[in-house]
Amino acid sequence: MIELRNITKYFGAKKAVDTISFAVEKGEILGFLGPNAAGKSTTMRIITGYIPPSRGTVVIGGNDILTDSLSARGKIGYLPENAPAYPDMTVYAFLDFCAQIRGFSGKDRKTKTEEIIDRCFLNSVKHQAISTLSKGYKQRVCFAQSIIHDPEYLILDEPTDGLDPNQKHEVRMMIRNMAAEKAIILSTHILDEMDAVCTRAIIIANGRIVVDETPENLRKKSPSHGAITLEIPKGNPKKLIACLKSIAGTKSVESLTTEDQSLRVRVFPEPGSDAIAEKILSELIKKRYRVKSIFVEQGHLDEVFRMLTTEASMEQDIDFKKKRLSKRLRNLPDLRSQRLKQPE
């Protein structure tokens, strides 16, 4: 289990991470999301022991990262942001170095290195210097480094950044297949990736956790979750909307686009009303409408993301303005006394 206990990190006066606590069990894949500069990478650096927190601590499978750092670090695999690797080494030499540092020697060392090169599709560049690799390949080399020792805990900072769609898919599959016996934390800006891979999502903004949910529950927070979108051949939009509104259980109706041949509307149900799609359908058929398509919206993750993170940053903005104002008020008497002195 990876357990964060009240992690706070200041850079000078700036609070990059603000009392973050959560625990990740084996079998979980935690998606770590947030806008730029939210504090994702900083949190991951604290978890892996690269920078110490200003307050709080992290416990990795029973070992405290501050007091028992070496044992804790031995259990972690870490892919840092931007996938750093020694540019003057060949892929093989680099991974061989990592295998040795991870404690493999003799025959093990060779088999581990060969095996990971195979698993991460690096055979074609095995003897190429890392400085000559493309970005995606560099990313893969560093990813390979993080799983070479089959760690119990895996921390991945934007693991699919720079990969082509095929490789993205491949890496996601690898992560999912490893998940059963590992606790994995990965950060990403791709919401679909989080949805496809993760069993749980934490969104942070301005260093604070704003939500900790499963991807499905997150989706349910979307305003369009459960809404019904209909497409109907061109007709009188007002009449259609009136008809839809008359159905019991609809809260509001919104017309989306009026294309040349068809009319698209979205019906938002009252909370708690079920089988609304069926009611709409039977009503429309009764009224002799031809329904081109109908579907129930699952909700959009990017809507949820925007809603949650802008709320948080607005709060911070207000805080900031309040502080600035009170500072100005405090300085006011000084200004006045200065002005009084001036005529002398």
Partner: protein, 252 residues
């Protein structure tokens, strides 16, 4: 030997081998060795007139080492940490299950071995003295050991300044400045100027800090335990400072 010690030694050697590999993987290493050999030759033959002196010892060779090292050793050490910082590989390295002292020792020893190899390549000079006369081989051996120790002291200063910055150039300049201080503290024009007004004990104390003071008997081929202790403690102090700097970077 218990498990932990074995682990420590493997970690240090793995890091050492990687660093050595990256020295010899770049042309800079060969340029360094060539420049070092050329400078040693130039000073020994053209400035000190090795042949004309008609002495079968290497004093005129060792005597220039403090000055040659002043510029060459910081060039060897400047990349050790600065490059890791610039590339971001430091984040990788320091989250691996190795301790900071292990990494520092591995890096330091790699640089030291590299300098040792450069020093060993001056062996034709020893052969020349053998050809010229009947040199005291023990004195020459002591000279080499002493010079190697002093190179280590320069290197420890260089690795320490390298950990302060992500720029190799700044690391180089800082190292040269600090090493220059360690030379000048015992440089006779400076000590003479000093003794004009300062009390004797102070002049002595400052001179005792200097590489030159402690290298003086070594270049004659006398290896004193106090001089050895001096260079070893400089190395320890600088490597310790290096570790402190890196740890405090983390708390910033």
């Amino acid at each position: 030997m218990n498990m932990n010690q074995a682990k420590t030694i493997t970690n240090i050697t793995v890091i050492l081998k990687r660093e050595l590999g990256s020295y010899f993987g770049s042309p800079v290493a060969y340029v360094f060795i060539i420049v070092f050999l050329m400078l040693s030759g130039f000073f020994t033959f053209n400035i000190s007139h090795f042949f004309e002196m008609g002495q079968a010892d290497l004093r005129s060779f060792f005597q220039w080492h403090p000055w040659i090292y002043l510029f060459l050793v910081p060039a060897v050490s400047m990349r050790l940490w600065a490059e890791e910082r610039r590339l971001g590989t430091m984040e990788l390295l320091l989250t691996l299950p190795v301790t900071l002292p292990q990494v520092i020792l591995g890096k330091f020893l790699a640089g030291w071995i590299f300098l040792g190899i450069a020093l060993l390549l001056t062996f034709p000079l020893v052969i020349t003295t053998l050809y010229l006369g009947n040199p005291d081989l023990g004195a020459i051996f002591c000279g080499y050991i002493g010079s190697f120790l002093m190179a280590g002291a320069y290197l420890s200063i260089g690795i320490m300044t390298s950990s302060m910055t992500r720029s190799q150039v700044i690391s180089f300049i800082l190292a040269v400045v600090i090493c220059l201080f360690f030379i000048l503290a015992g440089f006779s024009p400076v000590t003479r100027a000093f003794s004009g007004w300062a009390p004797l004990w102070l002049t002595d104390l400052v001179a005792q800090l200097s590489f030159l003071t402690h290298f003086a008997s070594i270049e004659r081929g006398v290896l004193d335990i106090r001089d050895i202790l001096y260079f070893v403690s400089i190395i320890f102090f600088m490597l310790y400072t290096n570790a402190t700097i890196l740890e405090n970077r983390k708390t910033s």
